[in-house]
């Protein structure tokens, strides 16, 4: 296991370096400049723009900028944001926990609903439950994320008034709440975005889980278990352990989407996470933030895949190295 981990960590460093390089080059080569924000204010003088160019070191050749950026990155210096006037690492540090919280909650919704529904459907193929389940999951899977978010906001936020429509906490009452009150405040604000992000993932997970279950329930050991008179619950448990492997792989694949692809959900719910940070930075051509966010998300994804691999090795003895 130690050798396996060392190899994977080495690969992670290489991936981070590759992503930082690629993002750096792509964003610098894309049309537009971080100084264009002043492009519609007639009072910004050419001299001021030139000064900004010098301040951001954009007047240097791109290869010099690149070498400087990577050298600083290795030393742990992620640079200064052009638009936020603060170190990139601070901006990332503020955004990452929000994204991890949302992604974590969404993953729980995703896998709890997805695996439960897929397993139930797979155990009873062709029944009404299976047909209704398939219709629901297919519909959910086809729905655009932002639309589902808007509908949930409309129903539970605006019409029923049960849940807050956006933000991480209630900024008016939060400072007055007790510790438990603060936790609950965060909890109620998490419900709608986590459901939006999680339900669509759950639809896909359920489809995979159902297919995997169908494979497994046809196998001899399940027939044997049933023939021996094992209770259906116990049979399902055995089947699930065998059918869960593809779903665990899916977990690794879900992470990139949850960490970086949540831009729309973060926009609809004004959730201050990595997706929104990177998207806004991209619009303003805030090069250091874009590159920093991409590198951090790449690292998180590599870490996520590592976790998925370790889980697979735990769940499936065949993938372990002989000791």
């Amino acid at each position: 296991m130690a050798g396996f981990l060392a190899r994977r960590l080495g690969a992670a460093a290489l991936v981070a370096f590759g992503v930082a390089t690629l993002t750096f080059l792509l964003i610098h080569l894309s049309p537009g400049s971080p100084l264009a924000g002043s492009g519609e204010n007639p009072y910004v003088s050419a001299e001021a723009i030139e000064q900004m160019r010098r301040n951001f070191a954009l007047d240097r050749p791109i290869h010099i900028q690149y070498v400087r950026y990577i050298a600083n990155l290795v030393r742990g210096d992620w640079g200064m944001s052009f638009t936020m006037h603060r170190p990139v690492i601070n901006a990332l540090r503020d955004a990452l926990p929000n994204t991890l919280l949302l992604a974590g909650a969404a993953l729980i919704v995703d896998f709890l609903f997805g695996i439960a529904l897929g397993t139930l459907q797979g155990m009873r193929p062709g029944t009404r439950l299976d047909r209704v389940g398939s219709a629901v999951t297919l519909t959910l899977y086809s729905v655009p994320t932002f639309w589902l978010g808007l509908m949930l906001v409309l129903v539970f936020g605006q019409e029923l008034g049960w849940l807050p429509v956006s933000g991480v906490v209630d900024p008016v009452l939060y400072p007055t709440r007790t510790v438990v009150g603060k936790l609950l405040d965060r909890g109620v604000h998490l419900i709608l975005p986590a459901l939006t992000l999680g339900l669509i993932g759950a639809a896909a997970t359920a489809r995979y889980q159902r297919a995997a279950m169908l494979e497994v329930v046809r196998q001899d050991f399940i027939r044997t278990a049933r023939a021996k008179g094992l209770a259906e619950g116990a049979v399902a448990r055995h089947a699930l352990r065998n059918a869960i492997l593809p779903t665990i792989t899916l977990l690794g694949l879900a992470l990139p989407t949850l960490l970086s692809g949540a831009v729309l959900v973060e926009t609809v719910f004004a959730w201050p996470g990595m997706g929104r940070l990177a998207f806004e930075a991209l619009q303003r051509r805030d090069y250091p933030v874009v590159t920093g966010a991409a590198t951090l998300v790449a690292l998180a994804v590599v870490a996520g895949n590592l976790v998925a691999d370790v889980l697979t090795r735990i769940a499936d003895p065949r993938t372990r190295e002989p000791t």
Partner: protein, 549 residues
């Protein structure tokens, strides 16, 4: 705060986390939740975005403020800010007496040394303040004593007083004196500022909100709100949802007619459209794309530009796309500027005259409906920023209007950054440009449209000696009546030359909860008078009564 009920039920079940709403202590209550994007920095010399300016205007203050007439010539109409009085010693020297009650939010008095320090910061090239070029005519800012400061100008000019008071938000010397100037913009002060304005900075929760507290000792009087929360919701539809759901109280936003309809469905909100200091126009490149030494094959022809302009019905296009959220300007300025007048009119929409003119110029309609002359088709490309929905939609309407007179216009949508980069480089036939300024002075017209602006913000490379001469005279004229006449003459010249089609002045909507009264608004900066807003004591909500320990 309907979800409060659910929250309280849940919380009470665990620990009784929700307290009873306390009653208003004393006679001062009120919490306003305002919506904006997240600012980048709250340090006035280096603010860039709307959110930066909106919030710094509540925390900091200036020597004097614009009056309701938004006059920028001389000192008439200006109202006291940090300075309670001023007097001209001679035409180039003005002496300000600071209000002795003026205090920084950390309790120290505001002094003349702070004003001198502020000028020094704004003029320092290392700080790169946006207003730096506008302070060029100030020779010195000298403290006479701790409450008197003398400002000397290099020469007399009509807007000298305006520049001296409007361009600088006064900074606390004691907090910033030791900070190296090249590190000022990234200094923690910018995220935890000490000002002397009506509201004290409390906290900035990154990505979520900024909290301000009313300063009960503010020198001009106590603000109406005890507490202000700025919620960061950069996405306009999401902000509208907040307002409709009752989770936010006020904002100023550029809306689509659909979003305005949604807001109209919320009975608790008052909606007031007003005009922004901005204007959008379809500008013709007078030089060949990417080759400024050569004239443009089409648009160097004044008569052709006039014909294209007359073929466009800007009013119909704006009504179709923006309803009453936009209006057609009569020149390159917002309609509330003091130079606006009914006597200034753009070229009229006249399809018949446009067709006649094109015929006279030798452009004949071909079988495909597009005109051509000497084998050259009458077609051009219009650059549009994809980020602006109104400009994208209006471009399509204009495309159709031009098609009817035999002109083919292709629309190229570009990412905003790429759009600006190409516009600045002059690589376009026509571009749907826009200027936004936070200044009520008409001087920006000179920057964008005079020959001196070529290489700066005059992307179209428009150059008219007659226009330049009139503008120079207008800027130098101290008599407001005579200055207005000169401005009108200059605008008549540019309108006749038609370097651009003036399309619309965006009308943002001021959204405010009905419990707020005395909701004064200054169109150049909607947050400038927020401190005068009051909460109707008969209509206090639970939110107004919340007291932070």
């Amino acid at each position: 705060m309907k979800h409060g009920a659910l929250f309280c039920a849940a919380a009470a079940a665990v620990l009784g986390a929700c307290r009873e709403a306390p009653s208003c202590p004393g006679d001062w209550c009120g919490t306003a939740v305002l919506v904006s994007a997240e600012p980048g920095v709250l340090l006035p010399p280096v603010t860039q975005t709307d959110a930066d300016s909106w919030i710094t205007a509540m925390v900091f203050s200036r020597l004097a403020e614009l009056g309701s007439g938004l006059n920028t010539i001389g000192d008439s109409g200006f109202v006291p800010g940090l300075a309670e009085a001023w007097a001209w010693q001679d035409p180039t020297t003005v002496r300000f007496t600071l209000n002795p009650k003026a205090r920084w939010h950390d309790g120290r008095p505001v002094t003349a040394q702070d004003v001198a320090f502020t000028f020094d910061v704004y003029r320092d090239p290392k700080v790169n303040a946006g207003a730096r070029p506008l302070l060029e005519q100030i020779a010195s800012v000298t403290p006479a004593d701790s409450h008197t400061v003398v400002i000397r100008f290099r020469r007399t000019y009509p807007e000298s007083f305006f520049d001296a008071v409007f361009q600088m938000w006064i900074l606390p010397r004691h907090a910033l004196d030791s900070v190296p100037r090249d590190r000022l913009s990234s200094h923690p002060f910018g995220r935890n500022p000490i000002g002397s304005g009506p509201f004290r900075f409390v906290r900035w929760t990154t990505g979520q909100s900024i909290e301000l507290a009313g300063d009960s000792s503010y020198s001009l009087g106590r603000p109406g709100w005890r507490r202000v929360i700025w919620r960061f919701i950069p996405d306009v539809p999401a902000g509208v949802t907040q307002l409709v759901a009752g989770e936010a109280d006020a904002t100023s936003a550029l809306l689509t007619p659909e979003l305005l309809e949604r807001l109209r469905g919320a009975p608790q909100l008052n909606l007031t459209p007003y005009a922004l200091p901005a204007y959008s126009y379809i500008g013709f490149n007078l030089r060949a794309p990417g080759r400024p030494a050569s004239p443009h094959a089409l648009f160097s022809d004044r008569e052709l530009r006039r014909a294209v302009t007359m073929a466009v019905d800007a009013g119909a296009a704006v009504r179709a796309v923006l309803g009453d959220l936009g209006e057609v300007p009569s020149g390159p300025f917002a309609p509330w500027l003091w130079i606006a007048s009914d006597s200034v009119t753009p070229l009229p929409h006249d399809t018949a005259a446009a067709k006649r003119s094109l015929d006279d110029l030798g452009w004949r309609v071909d079988a495909d409906g597009v005109r051509s002359s000497n084998g050259r088709r009458l077609e051009f490309d219009l650059l549009v920023p994809a980020s602006s929905a109104p400009r994208r939609r209006i471009a399509v309407v204009v495309q159709d209007q031009l098609k009817r007179v035999g002109i083919s216009m292709q629309i190229t949508e570009l990412d905003f950054n790429a759009f600006i980069a190409r516009s600045q480089a002059g690589r376009f036939d026509a571009a749907f440009l826009s200027w936004v300024s936070d200044s009520p002075s008409p001087r920006s017209i000179r920057q964008t449209w005079s020959t001196a602006g070529i290489g700066g913000s005059n992307y179209l490379r428009y150059s008219s000696p007659e226009f330049d001469r009139l503008i120079d005279q207008a800027v130098a004229e101290a008599d407001r009546g005579r200055a207005a006449t000169l401005w009108h003459q200059a605008i008549a010249v540019i309108n006749a030359d038609a370097p651009a089609i003036w399309i619309y002045v965006p009308r943002p909507v001021l959204v405010a909860h009905r419990r707020f009264v005395n909701t004064a608004l200054r169109p150049d900066l909607w947050t400038a008078l927020l401190w005068q807003w009051r909460v109707n004591p008969e209509a206090l909500t639970e939110r107004d009564l919340v007291v932070v320990p």
